[in-house]
């Protein structure tokens, strides 16, 4: 069934500061869309806005989940998660003083996910065998790569239809970044997820993205409808390659 995300004319910010100045974008069913942009351009704010953590000022956010349209504006975060939208926040954000297993079980806090706990947990352990080994270890005591795995697995425990990923590469070595990006691709294919991924690491993001947007100072400055288009765009060359 179709799952997609549509954002029109979105403005949002914190107090007197306006961060997003009229963002419009959409993610179609089964797509992986990259949200590119350097630091401080509003990628994370956009993600938080979709999840209802930062309130929007004007504009609209709608999600189609299993063919049914939902208006996300003004909804509480837990209700948005309940619809089947999950955010993997930037910087891993685990529950460091809880065990790996408790972290995973927290992912399944929403009632719908609770029914499928055993199946999802088994799936997570199958995809990330390391997490099964470290079940009783405190999450905060794992390595950066393992922690990123756990955040991915935790998001999967909510049984999402649309997955938002905020900077999966932050604080990881290049090898691990490429590993994580591969895992995101595999999971997306297995689960049939619809993915919106904010990323600074252009080369890694572009490997798995179908399309992409470039966000500069809270505006979408460029929309590339294919991988090639993105790679050959002058703005991206300027922002990322200094050419």
């Amino acid at each position: 069934m179709a799952n997609s995300l549509h954002i029109e004319g979105l403005r949002a910010g914190y107090g007197a500061v306006q961060v997003l100045e009229g963002i419009s974008l959409h993610v179609n069913d089964g797509e992986t869309v990259a949200l590119l942009g350097t630091n401080g351009n509003g990628k994370s704010t956009l993600m938080k806005c979709i999840m209802g953590i930062v309130p929007l000022r004007t504009g609209s956010i709608t999600a189609v989940i299993d063919g049914i349209e939902h208006n996300l504006a003004g909804q509480a975060t837990e209700d948005i998660v309940n619809l089947g939208i999950a955010l993997i926040p930037e910087g891993r954000r685990l529950f460091p003083r809880l065990t790996v297993e408790e972290n995973l079980l927290l992912g399944a806090y929403r009632p719908i996910a609770r029914d499928a706990i055993a199946r999802n947990l088994a799936f997570c352990h199958e995809v990330f065998p390391r997490l099964a080994e470290r079940r009783t270890q405190l999450a905060g005591s794992m390595s950066g790569g393992e922690q990123q795995m756990l955040t991915l697995a935790r998001a999967l425990m909510t049984a999402p239809k649309i997955l938002l990923i905020d900077e999966p590469s932050v604080g990881l070595s290049p090898l691990l970044v490429s590993h994580i990006i591969n895992q995101i691709r595999d999971l997306k294919e297995r689960y049939g997820l619809t993915v919106l991924m904010a990323e600074q690491n252009f080369h890694q993001a572009i490997r798995i993205a179908d399309r992409g947007y470039v966000i500069v100072h809270g505006r979408i400055e460029y929309e590339g409808s294919s991988r090639d288009e993105l790679s050959n765009n002058a703005l991206i060359r300027k922002l990322y390659m200094g050419l």
């Binding site: 953590i53 509480a76 998660v81 926040p89 460091p96 992912g107 806090y109 425990m157």
Partner: protein
């Protein structure tokens, strides 16, 4: 252990303790035990918001005094029986807790702690100026002459009530800790944003936690006017309630319901002993020294040691 089994066990123990205490001839025991039990409830209640949820409440005295002064009010207005006082005071403090819960919407960490401290100051000023409950002069609360259940003195009744209330507080704290709610609270404590992203209804859980925590702290205060027979604002709003209800879980360990109990028994008894052997002025000093020692040497409290030892053995 299932919650129901634990509850049955806790109340059975409480009744047994009450029955066994009848054999103790010394009245001082009841008075001292009352104080220690009162601190067990305060510490346990504080830990629900402070330890499980991670919101440090510096205004324990406000909740305690809400319980105490609602009893004073009921005494003056209706000469209500003790049970009514306990229930009303608990509910009133619970309402106050709910209000404090809404503070967590905008305030975290130090800011939340300062706001709760301010709450205590505001309530204190309010009570000082409320003549009906005695104002700054304080109020005399005469213990009833007829004592139910054939108990020899009124302190025995207050002590028995305190034992039962302690059992209730522990049962509630443990039930929260072992439930899905407890896991959600732990998530809020560790990382509120991540908790929200995982679909934990953070606001609802924080309101719940603040309400229960406040209600139980208030419950501990409801019998206090009868205990002293005279109550004044500076006694009910004493800083020592705030300090002790933070220090006890910190020393015992904040991750489980056992920690506050250990901390309260330890600190509470030490304070009682010091009070009769040295002087009551030393109490807070000792709390302070122990607090510094534990924060530096055992940041996870006594239960932290136990957990580390268990993990090593595994």
């Amino acid at each position: 252990m299932k919650n129901r089994t634990f509850a049955a066990l806790a109340f059975a123990t409480a009744v047994a303790v009450i029955a066994a205490s009848r054999l103790i001839p010394n009245d001082y025991f009841f008075s001292a035990a009352y104080t220690v039990l009162q601190f067990i409830i305060l510490a346990t209640a504080w830990n629900i918001l402070g330890g499980y949820t991670g919101y440090v409440n510096f205004g324990s005295a406000a909740f305690f005094a809400t319980g105490a002064y609602s009893s004073v009010f009921l005494y003056k207005a209706l000469h209500a029986p003790l049970v009514v006082m306990i229930v009303t005071g608990t509910l009133a403090a619970g309402l106050l807790g709910l209000a404090v819960g809404y503070l967590t919407l905008r305030m975290r960490g130090v800011f939340f702690a300062i706001a709760t401290l301010a709450l205590a100051v505001v309530l204190y000023t309010f009570v000082v100026n409320w003549d009906y409950v005695g104002g700054a002069r304080g109020a005399y609360i005469i213990q009833p002459r007829v004592i139910p259940f054939g108990l020899p003195r009124y302190i025995h009744l207050l002590y028995s009530a305190m034992v039962l209330m302690t059992a209730l507080a522990l049962v509630i704290a443990r039930a929260i800790e072992t439930s899905t709610i407890g896991r959600g609270l732990a998530a809020i404590r560790d990382d509120e944003l991540a908790a929200e992203c995982a679909g934990v209804p953070t606001l609802r859980l924080k309101l719940f936690s603040a309400t229960v925590s406040g209600a139980l702290m208030g419950m501990a205060g409801t019998t206090f006017p009868y205990y002293l027979a005279y109550i004044e604002p500076s006694a009910a709003f004493s800083l020592s309630y705030a300090v002790n209800s933070i220090a006890m879980p910190l020393i015992g360990g904040m991750m489980s319901w056992v920690g506050p109990v250990i901390g309260a028994v330890l600190l509470g008894s030490v304070q009682q002993i010091v009070q009769v052997t040295i002087s009551s002025a030393w109490n807070l000093l000792i709390v302070g020294v122990l607090l510094v020692a534990f924060v530096t040497l055992a940041p996870n409290g006594i239960m932290g040691w136990v957990d580390a030892w268990r993990r090593k053995r595994r």
